[in-house]
């Protein structure tokens, strides 16, 4: 059954792409054909995902690909889980799409260039997750990268967008080749490319480490781990918002899926130092991601950097899992894996929600910078509430889903005490402390984001006159917000459904997180730690209702609305509010060396400085990785290219002498 559903899902997304071809002529085709087909494809994917997750793995062959290397499909529990993740966000984006792309319809943009790559992009992701041999995996992987490149380059008038698109494709290409080589190493020790044969190959430890390093490099680059992350905040904000939601929410998770499939499933053995490397990179990504996000004023760049942070957290959980598996504690290993997967699902939901809401804001206010927003909650009440739920979830606060997965990750770290290697017992708590710092900074980040954009007084005319987005857009956001709350309240139910995944990854033991029934989360044992989300929510509601009832019991007088306290010197203007840059100033001063900061303050007024007629503050915060990693490599390549181009000197006789000396050299060589 699963195969039919997944086949129908992939065909639907390809069909939506195909139909998109005609979209630039019949404009209505976009609203009534492309997006509905995409939504259906999302639904079919979710159904296929559930069937795969609950049923047993199915596999089949496809007539495509080389004769001796035809594409083969294998949908097991892990693939099913990621299919659900893809399906939910694709469905939400499909519902959101028509409303959002109304502005593109009458513009100069060609709609075909939007629809066709979207269809291919979704089909690419679906195929990657169900691929069962290296050849199909690579084709689907690069199809995903190429189609998303066309989407990033959709609004290619500005030079910055073009540059971002080029950078994105280049990094995707490098990552793709690294993954290809990792499969190459595995294939070298087995006699074929299909995953069964790759699993059967037993590699010497050195080659296993090389395969792991390549896979980690390739997938880490695509997921946006720190040293190789610079393309992500450039590329994601540039794409149309519903595509950024797909890219940030889902494509990064497909990279996580790839990493899990290669490292946990294909490479048989697991080594402790791999886990430590993944853990350290993950914590570095998490911390730097949130610190860089703190200094952004463009709303979508901020969300892109926060994706880096959450991916860092997911890789930390995977790092914990790898350390425990390598140290011989399979139960704790599965706990870490389940925590990572659950956080991946949660992140897909609330990051998708945040990007869709950001898209709605941008469509209404035509502003991308936080400094030009303000007071939007009154103008966009629905988007405001859903955005608030998104912010609460991503800031990992108790009743919401972010907290459930974060709590599981911290519990996995707390089990670190069981390891006998002393050094690990020190590293794990320190990384847990870094995780705590990241969580707290994330909370500050999203207070800043929500506070500056939705609360206070509107800072620009556009912010004042924003009006409600279309019903489709609101319902999509509402759906994702409801899911965030649902997964926050009933984590035990979700984790019980995910229970079958470890079994398919080389027979890891099933987690007993949900040992005590649907109400409780008990990672290691009932005594050591337990958390019951429903009861917590019940408690909160109870106390809230009690205090509300007590205070309002007696005479109920009307609340008066008066101007805010202005220290007595006249009406408050919007410019007196805290700006986003000001809000982040303390963190900028405390963690100063993290960024490349150049700040200029020009004071205009008389020289002695008694009377200043104006102050201009200019701040430019840029990423350090550009200066340390990307520019040097770029310069090195250009320098070697200039060196090599001297070879083409233009003189015939020099060319003749090249040929002459090559001949003499070779003759001398072989004699």
């Amino acid at each position: 059954m699963t195969i039919q559903w997944i086949a129908c899902a992939v065909l639907l997304s390809l069909l939506s792409g195909g139909v998109g071809l005609g979209a630039s002529y019949y404009r209505a085709l976009l609203r009534w054909a492309c997006f509905p087909l995409l939504g259906l494809s999302g639904l079919a994917t979710v159904i296929a995902g559930f069937l795969a997750l609950l049923g047993d793995p199915v596999s089949t062959q496809l007539p495509l690909g080389l004769p001796w290397l035809s594409w083969s499909i294998y949908v097991d529990a892990l693939a099913g889980f990621f299919l659900i993740l893809i399906g939910v966000v694709v469905f939400a984006v499909a519902v959101f799409g028509p409303g959002y792309t109304r502005e593109f319809q009458h513009g100069r943009h060609s709609l075909a260039a939007l629809c066709v790559p979207t269809g291919l992009f979704v089909a690419g992701m679906q195929l990657v997750v169900i691929a069962n041999d290296a050849f199909m995996f690579m084709i689907a992987w690069e199809l995903m990268s190429l189609s998303s490149y066309f989407l990033v380059a959709y609004q290619h008038e500005q030079a910055a967008n073009r540059r971002a698109a080029f950078l994105y494709l280049l990094m995707a290409h490098i990552g793709g080749i690294a993954i290809l080589l990792s499969y190459g190493v595995l294939a070298a020790f087995s006699d074929g490319f299909s995953f069964e044969l790759l699993r059967a190959a037993e590699l010497p430890t050195l080659w296993a480490s090389i395969a792991f390093a390549l896979a980690f490099f390739g997938f880490g680059m695509k997921a946006g781990l720190v040293p190789l992350h610079a393309w992500l905040p450039e590329a994601h904000p540039v794409a149309p918002s519903h595509i950024s939601a797909l890219m940030s929410g889902v494509m990064l998770k497909v990279a996580v899926y790839g990493f899990i499939r290669v490292v946990f499933d294909l490479i048989g053995q697991m080594q402790v130092d791999w886990g430590v490397i993944v853990l350290l990179t993950g914590s570095a990504s998490a911390l730097l991601g949130v610190l860089y996000a703190m200094q952004q004023t463009d709303i979508k760049r901020l969300l892109a950097y926060s994706s880096i942070e959450n991916i860092g957290v997911i890789f930390m959980a995977l790092g914990f899992a790898m350390i425990f598996l390598a140290a011989g504690y399979p139960k704790l290993g599965t706990l870490g894996l389940i925590a990572a997967l659950y956080h991946a699902l949660n992140h897909a939901l609330f990051k998708g929600l945040l990007f869709l809401s950001a898209g709605a804001i941008i469509q209404q206010t035509h502003q991308q910078s936080l400094e030009h927003m303000g007071g939007l909650l009154k103008r966009l009440p629905y988007t405001g509430t859903f955005f608030l739920i998104g912010c609460l979830s991503i800031a990992t606060l108790p009743p919401f889903n972010g907290f459930a997965s974060e709590w599981l990750i911290l519990q996995t770290a707390l089990q670190g005490v069981v390891l006998e290697n002393g050094l690990l017992r020190i590293v794990i708590p320190v990384t847990a402390a870094v995780l705590a710092l990241t969580t707290a900074l994330a909370a500050m980040l999203f207070v800043r984001l929500y506070g500056i954009s939705f609360l206070g007084q509107p800072r620009t005319r556009q912010a004042r006159q924003a009006h409600l987005p279309s019903f489709g857009m609101r319902s999509a956001q509402g759906m994702l917000a409801a899911l965030c709350i649902l997964l926050g309240i009933l984590p035990a139910v979700a984790i019980k459904i995910m229970g079958a995944i470890p079994q398919t990854l080389r027979g890891l033991p099933a987690p007993e997180i949900t040992g005590q029934g649907w109400l409780w989360l008990t990672p290691a044992s009932a005594a050591s730690a337990s958390y019951s989300a429903p009861l917590v929510l019940l408690g909160l509601a109870l106390v809230w209702w009690l205090s509300y009832f007590l205070l309002h019991g007696r005479k109920h007088q009307q609340v008066q609305r008066v101007p805010a306290w202005d220290c007595g010197f006249g009406p408050l203007s919007a410019r007196m509010q805290y700006t986003a840059t000001a809000f982040a100033m303390p963190i900028r001063r405390i963690f100063k060396p993290v960024w490349l900061i150049d700040e200029k303050i020009e004071r205009s007024g008389d020289e002695q400085g008694f009377h200043t007629s104006g102050l201009r503050h200019q701040l430019q915060v840029s990423d350090r990785s550009w200066k340390w990693l990307y520019l040097p490599i770029g310069r090195w390549v250009l320098r070697s290219a200039r060196l090599v181009s001297r070879l083409q000197s233009g003189n015939v006789r020099t060319y003749l002498s090249y040929s002459f000396f090559t001949l003499l050299f070779l003759l001398w060589l072989i004699s």
Binding site: P63, L64, G65, L66, P67, W68, S110, F135, M138, I139, W141, E142, L143, L146, A153, H156, E157, A159, R162, A165, F166, L169, L170, H173, I174, I177, A178, L180, L181, Y183, G184, V185, A187, A188, F193, V637, L638, S640, A641, R642, V644, S645, L647, Q648, V652, T654, Y655, L656, Y658, S659, T662, L663, L666, L667, I670, S671
Partner: protein, 494 residues
């Protein structure tokens, strides 16, 4: 046999016909008809060879086996599509006044002459005739390079002629040495140059002389392939001649030269098998040349200011990759090389056609002045973008498959070489896309009008590449497999 003779004689006859009649308006159409007829004949020949196995003509003059028959069909097919493109292109050039009627007559005659020499080189069994045919191909194209009579094109033609002349001379010396060793082993001297007889007795040939002969041949024909450091003429010749000529040169002539080197390598491998100290000498030489060209050409891509020079360097890079693959030997690498050769011809000629149209739209070949193609003419813009993605080896297109197989084969045989391949691929990709990006995207510069463009060949080639990339038909796979068995000893499918 009739199909074989038909494939050979049609282009010869058309060359003479086009040369004889003074300029007539239908020259373009005759050109297309002739190439279509040749393609039909070559397809019939291919079907015949596919069913009955290798075909040796009476008198052992022609020899067609699985390896060269697919090249014959490929050459004829690409020549046809380029002819279809060249008719409107050259008539536009005629209207622009860059060529006069007399030169058009020369152009069409030499075009067919060039096709004839390539088909002859592919089909002949005699290595001497192979040399003569390649020399003929050089002569045919040298006049075309200087068709526009601009100082640059004259200079390019001169360099092309001198360098290829010297290269071909070295190849002749190699062939003479080959003949010398064969004559000392074979009974009757006149069979000394027939490839079939040489292949049979290849293990009795003297190893040292054969290795010297191979050095001369690889340096000689290597100049024709455009391997670094012998490549200097290629960018000039490809960028100064008319675009259809560059398309055909880039797509086909380089393949034929590589075909000649591989034929000789089969003999040298046979000779060196048991006798000499390094049996893999030929393979190592080709790998060294291939890798050097691949890396150096990749770096060159970053410095280009003329779009046709950019893609000629990309041709050098791909030829380097193919030479490396053939040098690596083994079934997987050879299959990858054959597939790469086909796909490179298809995609590279499609790109040159699009570049021709792009330069017409922008009125110049300078990269800095070509902007906003997608906005001006989506057909050309998207064609160029997809073509560049295909040539850079992105998956849905076939080139990814051959690079995939090659990387896996290198990983199995010589793992530490994959790093060089990886960096080469990435540097080349970066160079190519960095220059294409501003040209294709961006807003339409004022005064830039779409031009009447026949994009049929381009999308036909790209569709073929896509089809080969996604679902390789078993017939074609068996075809390549027979050729691989021939070259590398054992096939991939078996």
């Amino acid at each position: 046999m009739t199909a074989l003779y038909a494939t050979m004689l049609i282009p010869l006859f058309t060359t003479l016909l086009l040369a004889a009649i003074p300029h007539c308006r239908a020259a373009g159409w005759i050109n297309i008809l002739a190439t279509v007829a040749t393609t039909v004949a070559s397809v019939l020949l291919a079907i015949k060879v596919f069913h009955t196995g290798p075909l040796l003509s009476d008198g052992k003059f022609f020899y067609v086996d699985a390896f060269n028959v697919y090249l014959l069909v490929l050459t004829a097919f690409v020549a046809t599509t380029t002819a279809i493109f060249s008719r409107p292109y050259m008539s536009y050039e005629l209207r622009q006044g860059r060529v006069n009627n007399r030169r058009m007559r020369l152009y069409h005659a030499m075009y067919q002459g060039f096709v004839f020499t390539m088909l002859l080189a592919l089909a002949t069994n005699n290595l001497g005739i192979l040399w003569v045919a390649l020399e003929g191909a050089t002569l045919a194209t040298v006049l075309l390079v200087s068709l526009y009579r601009t100082p640059e094109s004259v200079e390019a033609a001169w360099k092309y002629f001198i360098l290829c002349g010297v290269g071909i001379a070295q190849a002749l010396f190699g062939t003479v040495l080959l003949y010398f060793t064969a004559a000392s082993v074979l009974s009757s001297a006149d069979e000394g140059l027939l490839w079939t007889s040489l292949y049979v007795i290849s293990n009795q040939l003297d190893p040292t002389v054969m290795s010297i002969a191979f050095v001369f041949i690889i340096v000689g024909y290597g100049t024709k392939i455009g391997l670094v450091p012998l490549h200097a003429w290629l960018p000039d010749a490809h960028s100064e001649g008319p675009t259809p000529m560059s398309a055909v040169l880039s797509g086909l002539l380089l393949n034929v030269a590589l075909y000649a080197v591989v034929r000789t390598k089969m003999l040298v491998d046979g000779a060196l098998q048991n006798a000499s100290s390094t049996p893999q000498l030929a393979g190592y030489l080709m790998m060294a040349f291939g890798l050097l060209s691949f890396l150096v050409a990749g770096l060159f891509l970053h410095r280009q200011r003329d779009i046709k020079r950019l893609f000629s360097y990309s041709s050098i890079e791909h030829m380097g990759l193919m030479t490396f693959a053939f040098g690596l030997g083994g079934p997987l690498a050879t299959f990858a090389a054959l597939l790469h050769m086909t796909l490179h011809s298809l995609v590279k000629s499609a790109i040159f056609v699009t570049v021709g149209h792009a330069s017409h739209i922008a009125g110049t070949q300078l990269i800095d002045k070509i902007r906003g193609l997608i906005r001006t003419q989506p057909g050309v813009g998207w064609g160029l973008l997809l073509g560049t993605a295909a040539i850079a080896g992105f998956p849905p297109f076939g080139l990814f498959v051959s690079e995939f197989l090659l990387l896996i084969a290198t990983m199995q045989k010589m793992p530490w070489l994959t790093l060089a391949l990886l960096s080469g691929l990435v540097i080349a990709f970066a160079g190519l896309f960095r220059t294409i990006h501003p040209m294709v995207y961006g807003s339409q510069p004022e005064g830039q009008l779409p031009v009447k463009a026949n994009m049929l060949p381009v999308y036909l080639h790209l569709l073929l590449a896509l089809w080969l990339g996604l679902a390789m038909p078993t017939v074609l796979a068996q075809w390549f497999d027979q050729a691989t068995q021939l070259i590398a000893g054992q096939g991939v499918l078996g």
